[in-house]
Amino acid sequence: MPRTLDEGKRRERVLRLIQLCRTAVERGVDPFEVDVKDMLDLLNRYLPGWRDLDELSLDAEALNRLAAVIELQGNWIRYRCSLLYVDPLVVEFKVRALDASTLFNDFVRAWRPVLEYEQLSPQQIKEAVEYWNRLPSLAERLRRLPRAPWIRPSRMSLDEMLQLGVFSAQGFEQVLSELAAELRDRTEREGSVTYWGFIYSDTYEETVRRAYLTSFLITYGYARLELRGLDEEAYLRPTPAEGPSPEPQQPSSFAMPVDYETWLRLSEARRLE
């Protein structure tokens, strides 16, 4: 169902709230800059209007982020009550105003360095001598190593190379184009498809191959990877143009582990369906 303008605005506002909370937590800014009560009232007003799972996930994420801010506010108060609290701006001002010599003298008065000797002890020398005496020569150690069987170089046929996967019968570009076409077909109705839903195949090897090729689809701009919801589930969306987009606006990288356990779980789920 298409979203109304109001729904779009509400969604945007909640996204801004999440971003604000994230900034407060990650940048270490004053957490009291976030008006938690106001934000909770806002979420409370919007809640009855949320309909689909995406929107409810967004609401849960916003609550989660607000909880993190409240925790930060608690820590902030505890820190301000502690003996170590001094106004950061005053400290910065003082540090800027002091010369290097004064800072040096202040630091030395508060500094009690740990002692360490980076040299050999008599015990270590004794152990080293014993080790040296026990150690066989390099030639002797090499003689004890198992030898790999000697294989005479020989020719390999094209069929054998195809079988080993060294060569492909199709060109790489052609394989990518076919995969891009498949992605467009599968997203014709919904607009996007889950990443795992797209790369999944009956065998793990083929799933890995499709994941590998899909990474090129994204890199070359044939498709976009979107992370949605609290658990940041990955979705693939083909780019609107026929060919690859000339230049991505904000290049970023994201690691997608294609592990055997996840493939097994999916395989089992599909078998039960």
Binding site: P88, S101, F104
Partner: protein, 206 residues
């Protein structure tokens, strides 16, 4: 000397060897290592050694893994704790300079630690750089920060946030440093320590 006293003297000597000579990447010895080498009542040996070291102006400090001092630790905490030897009293400015530290590097470390402390123990590296670059050239700042990170005075996460490292917690009296910088402690008479920014660059190997 009784047999018991002689045994303790031997073990105290062994404990000093263990604690003085660096065995791992980090200085210090773990409690369980001391127990293995010195026996079950190793804390008695450590106390004896601490008394001897006290005469030399040194002390044995028991630290947590992250560098915070351990107060009244349990036997289990002692096993995991790190035992280090450090100065009982602060160095004089002259001695600190002779130990190979450049004044500018120490000043940068003082400013960095104070800045991070005032921000609840974390600050973005680029904010610290901006502060230090008001006094030192960019390349000096970069070099100094990397040195502090390597030595364990700072740690950095993948988002470029700087935190105090184990060594800052183990070696620096944080409250005193902040008080001194804020001018709340009367300055002690110190010898003049002019900046050596323009001077020759001596290696900084404390």
């Amino acid at each position: 000397m009784s047999d018991e006293a002689a045994a303790y003297a031997r073990r105290t000597k062994r404990a000093a060897q263990l604690l003085f000579f660096q065995r791992h990447r980090r200085p210090g010895v773990k409690g369980w290592e001391l127990k293995r080498t010195l026996g079950r009542n190793y804390m008695k040996v450590i106390e004896l050694l601490d008394q001897e070291l006290g005469k030399l102006g040194l002390e044995i400090k028991v630290l947590q893994e992250e560098g915070q001092p351990l107060e009244k630790p349990s036997p289990e905490e002692l096993d995991r704790a790190l035992f280090v030897i450090r100065l009982r009293e602060p160095l004089t400015a002259t001695d600190a300079r002779l130990s190979g530290w450049r004044i500018d590097d120490v000043a940068a470390l003082a400013a960095t630690v104070a800045y991070i402390l005032s921000r609840q123990g974390k600050a973005l590296q680029r904010d610290v750089e901006r502060l230090l670059e008001t006094k030192f050239p960019g390349w000096v700042v970069q070099y100094a920060l990397e040195r502090f990170l390597r030595r364990g005075y700072l740690t950095r996460d993948e988002s470029g946030m700087l935190y105090l490292g184990w060594r800052s917690r183990a070696e620096i009296d944080q409250k005193l440093l902040l008080n001194l910088i804020m001018g709340e402690e009367p300055p002690r008479a110190q010898e003049g320590a002019p900046t050596d920014m323009e001077g020759s660059r001596a290696p900084m190997t404390p």
